[in-house]
Every structure is written in C-alpha cells, then in structure tokens.
Amino acid sequence: MRPEDAFAHTGVARRPLPRRSLRLWSVRHARGLEAFYRRFERALRALDPLFARIGHARLERPVASVEHVVKATLFDCRMCGQCVLSATGLSCPMNCPKGLRNGPCGGVRDDGHCEVHPAMPCVWVQAYAGAERMGTVARLGTVQPPLDHRRAGRSSWLQAAQGHAAS
C-alpha cells in the first residue's frame, strides 16, 4: 500500500457527485417513478396489518436498510426519515449542501448549478423540472416544516404504511 492510499478516504467531504447521473435519471423519469411509488405505497398500506402483527419497532431496522439501499441508489437519499420526494419532483432536497427543503436559495448560478459545489446541478432546479414532468409544480408551494433530527435514519416507508406520509 502506498502511503497516500492510507489517507484516501479521510478528511474528504462526501460529495453527491459519484451517483449524480442516476439521481438525474430519476428526476428525468419522475412521472413514471412517482406512479410506481403510488402503487407501492398502496401495497404498503394494505400490508400494514401484517407489519403491526410483526411489530413496527422490530421491522424498523430491516426496512430502513432496504429503503436506504433503494433510495440511495435512485435518489442519493440521506435517510432524513421525513421523505418529501413526492413534493420535490423526486429530487432529494437533502442533497442540497444547505439542506433546503423549501426551494432554491438565492445563490443558484446562472448555469443552474449549485453555489457551494459548482459542478453539481442545483437540486431545486432539478426539483422544478421533475415537478413540471409530474404536473405537481403547485406542491412545491407547500411550506415544509423544519426537520426533526431525531428521525434521521428511520424508515419513511413504514410511516407511509401507517398512513403518516411526510409529503
């Protein structure tokens, strides 16, 4: 091992760049993915009596792990535990370096890229494009409450199953 390799994974801020193409793909296919999710959510709700029998608390970790893998792949999900993807054109707002859940900041560059990471397209420029495809621009007008940081890492699917969709 070369000496510099020992430091390869330290001290580097996590950037949402590596999987960005897939995240952008998801926004481009927002309409279809959203339709799929609506069916999935109906299935979750139908299964909720079963989840309740097993115990929501016992299911929390396995469901959250699966949810993390799926949503991290498709949306670069950060598991905030209060998913608002349906209200943000399927562009995950937690990828915004400021974590803005209510729309773009005033710093968006003329080319539509992020103020903080010039190489990254602004998640809210993407969100607007995704919402236009989904025909849900009006939903961007919903004022989202501040995050409950205690819910980080918890499954949003289980909450949706119980009828507590965050968005």
Binding site: N102, G103, G107, Y128, V143, P146
Partner: protein, 343 residues
C-alpha cells in the same frame, strides 16, 4: 418635514402604536402610507469600536428610511447584526436586523429574536444565508437547522401566537415587521414568483431583492407576482447598488453568490472615461426604470465600500420626491420649533 407618526418622544424608543401595524418602527409606517421607501445596507465593522458604525452611516444620514445590519454577509465574520442594530437604535435609527440560518440553530435563533425585539428592533429580515464556502472560514460547520421559510414561520408564530416552535408560551411576544429576500434573477426563474408566494404565506410582509442589474428580468418577475396578487400582500423593495468598475463587476459576478450582471452593463461601465461615475449612473438609471414597475414599493441600496455614494444616488434619482426620511438633527430642530410654539 417629518411625518408626525415617525417621531417618538425620544429617538431610541419605540414609536406610539398604530392600528393595523404589527411593529412600532418607522419602516412599516413609511411603506403602509404608500411612500416609496429607501433602505440601505451597511456591512458591520470588523471591530468592537461602535464609532466605526457611526462613521459608516454618516455619509447617508437623512437619505434612507431604514438601515440593514447584515448577519455575517458572504459568510464572513463581522460584528453581530443584533449588536449593530442595538447601536443604531441607540442613535435613533431604524435598523432591519438580518438573521441568517447558516450560523445558529432554532434554539439560538428564537432567543435572538426575543433579545433583538427587547433591544428595540422592529424589523427582521429572514435569510437562508450564503454557504460557508463563500467566506473566510470555509472549514466552519454550516448549521442550516431552519431555512428562510421555516424561519419566517417561526417568527410569525412567536409574534402572532406568542409561542416558541416547541409550543411553550412567550409572555411578551416580539412585535416585529417580518421580511425576506428573494432573488428574481437566479434559476429556476419560473419558480421564483412561486417562491415569493410561499414566503408571503410563511409570513413575509416585505421583500428586499438581490441586486437588480437586469430590469426586464425583474419586470417579468413582477408581472407574474401581480398575476398572483402578491404585490398587494407584501411590500417589494428592489435591490440596487453601484458598481465601482468593470473589474469589480466581473469579480462580483464570479465570486458573490447569486449576483447576475449582464455583459451589456459591464461593457457600458468599461467604455466610460470614469468607470466609478458610470457605475453610479447605471445604478440611477436602473432605479428610475424600476420605480415605474407596478408593485415596486421601494429600493434597497447595497453600496459595499461606497457608502458615500448612497446619498448622491438617492438624491440624483429623485426617488424620495422631496420627502425627508428621519434624521437626528431634524428631530432636534422640530422639537425646538414646538417648544417655541408652546411658549
């Protein structure tokens, strides 16, 4: 002559309450009377010396209705916005205290709102804040616990419902006029009027925009805002400011987040014999164009390191239409006349 509603018994005390007003400050009165308001921004000093604030505002005393005290603008460290506001109030001025979400969490922010109001702050501007990468401490932890929207809602809840975000009651709610910023020039431009509507729904009563160097873009934004009736639900002050030179303009465009300067503006300044004078001229021309846009209730002047030009710009653009905003010596003169009249 000063409007009688704008003068209190002592310069630093809140004004007498007026029906239909949420605050006891001058800015809300000027706007609600339908005057074309002028606000200006000072960058707080890198100093603990209060005299430096006095030196910064002296060049434009009597030309503006309120002075914005920025909160770590550009993510640079300066004297805190609340301390600057308190010092301005002590001198009799009406500050707009800026609160950015970058540096404080919800516990600190709500405490600061109460403290600011207790010190006499009547206007608060809610901002998300520039990212830490833009400043002199890029290694700092960005907080962003709230965003500008949830900050607006939080302060409105504190004022109107007398409760913290937690629901715990506040015995003396902060009587503040709540503002927000908007950048009509940044993408996604189609979303910006919707975002303005969202800010109004969250509690914004006045808006100060980012620098305007592109009037047609602002005019289109305002047309959309009027379609939604937003100009009747809040007071929109357009941000303006002089560019010192073509070089400075290019630097700002490249380094200050969110500032959009068209090439034509830079070319006009570059071609002039005195770039500084032309930069001021461009600013005055823009002011005269945008005051004609229906729904623009005033201007917000940001003249970083050119504070001395604020008075000239306000004077030469004629936006005050002969009106005199509050200033210290006028109050003294008015009181002298009143005492003479009484005896």
């Amino acid at each position: 002559m000063l409007h009688p509603d704008d003068v209190g018994p002592v310069p630093w005390a809140p004004l007498h309450p007026l029906p239909g007003h949420v605050s006891r400050g001058r800015l809300e009165r000027v706007l609600r009377r339908g005057e074309f308001a002028v606000t200006a921004e000072i960058n707080p000093p890198d100093s603990a010396d209060p005299d430096e604030i006095e030196q910064r505002i002296k060049p434009f005393e009597g030309w503006v209705d309120a002075i914005n005290a920025t909160d770590g603008s550009g993510a640079h460290c300066h004297m805190s916005s609340i301390a600057v506001s308190a010092l301005l109030i002590r001198m009799g001025y009406s500050p707009v205290t800026q609160i950015a979400c970058r540096d404080h969490n919800r516990i600190a922010i709500q405490g600061n709102v109460l403290g600011a109001a207790a010190l006499g702050v009547a206007n608060i501007l809610c901002l998300t804040g520039d990212g830490v990468q833009a400043g002199d401490h890029p290694e700092a932890k960005p907080v962003f616990d709230l965003d500008s929207l949830s900050l607006l809602q939080t302060i409105r809840m504190m004022r109107d419902e007398g409760r913290f975000l937690s629901g715990r009651p506040i015995t003396g709610p902060p009587q503040v006029f709540i503002g927000a910023a908007e950048n009509p020039f940044a993408p996604p431009r189609d979303f910006r009027p919707l975002r303005l509507a969202k800010k109004i729904a969250a509690g914004a009563q006045f808006i100060q925009t980012q620098y305007c160097y592109d009037v047609p873009v602002l005019a289109r934004f305002m047309a959309r805002a009027r379609d939604f009736g937003l100009h009747e639900q809040c007071f929109i002050l357009a941000g303006v400011g002089p560019l010192a030179s073509a070089r400075a303009a290019r630097w700002i465009r490249g380094n200050v987040p969110g500032v959009h300067i068209p090439d034509a503006v830079i070319a006009r300044i570059e071609g002039a014999r005195s770039q500084r004078a032309e930069g001021k001229r461009v600013c005055i021309d823009i002011i005269q164009e945008l005051r004609e846009i229906p729904g623009i209730a005033g201007i917000h002047l940001m003249a970083y390191k050119q504070e001395e030009s604020i008075a000239e710009i306000v004077h030469e653009s004629g936006v005050l239409r002969g009106r005199t905003p509050w200033r210290r010596d006028l109050v003294a003169r008015m009181q002298a006349v009143e005492t003479q009249g009484a005896t």
